[in-house]
């Protein structure tokens, strides 16, 4: 083969190499973060630009909150299983099912209170603006403020009531 034609595969190999090198440079830091201990907290560090001491305090708060979170997880799982079993065992709203629904709500409220308390303590460790942004992000992402459908989209307004919820 003519040596000049070698430019064709050589160029392609160089192109693939350039792709690989640039790709690796872009993702290597993120991959290292994902593999590091406390990876879930690394997002906080990069998103809010935490200093070393701030990150250590947030990590300590996170570790302190973990047992509470685990216990609430356990309670929610137990309560959900009980409610599901009771709801499937009947075909009407019994007192037992009512009581289990109320108990599930109580566990949920307890969970939301514990979580909101944790969010406040973490936000207090961040600079004020970052703390507010953290709270806004977390309130949108967690179950503290529940996401619901927009009022008029699922309950069309009827008659001459004007705007508002049509219940």
């Amino acid at each position: 083969m003519n040596r000049r034609l070698l430019f064709l595969p050589l160029g392609l190999v160089l192109g693939v190499l350039a792709y690989g090198v640039v790709y690796w440079l872009q993702v290597r830091e993120h991959r290292a973060i994902v593999r590091a201990p406390h990876a879930e907290l690394a997002w906080l560090r990069t998103e809010f630009g935490l200093s070393g001491p701030q990150w250590e305090r947030v990590a300590a708060l996170h570790d302190a909150y973990r047992p509470t979170c685990n216990e609430l997880c356990r309670q929610i799982a137990v309560q959900n299983a009980r409610l599901e079993a009771a709801a499937l065992a009947t075909n009407r709203l019994t007192d037992d099912v009512r009581a289990l629904i109320a108990e599930t709500g109580r566990v949920r409220d307890q969970c939301r209170q514990a979580m909101l308390g944790h969010l406040y303590t973490v936000a207090a460790e961040l600079p004020p603006e970052a703390g507010q942004r953290y709270l806004r992000l977390m309130l949108a992402a967690t179950c503290i403020v529940e996401a619901a459908h927009p009022i008029d989209s699922a309950h069309p307004v009827t008659g001459a009531q004007g705007g508002g919820h049509a219940h």
Binding site: N2, L5, L8, A18, G20, E40, L44, C143
Partner: protein, 68 residues
Amino acid sequence: MAPLAVVLRERLMQFFCRPRMAVAYVALVLLAGAGAGALRGHSTAQGLAGSLQGRYVQSIDPFAAVLR
């Protein structure tokens, strides 16, 4: 009429005869490769950052951990 492969080979040889064209070709392929790598890397990095946020939420929200 010459077969397509022969014509193509001749054209490529003529093309790479000119050093400027050869250098331009290599530069273009390098640039395309680097550009594609940057775009894909950016998208992967964003995906990883998003998954980290999700992991954080799961680690503090018992309902996210149980239900999602």
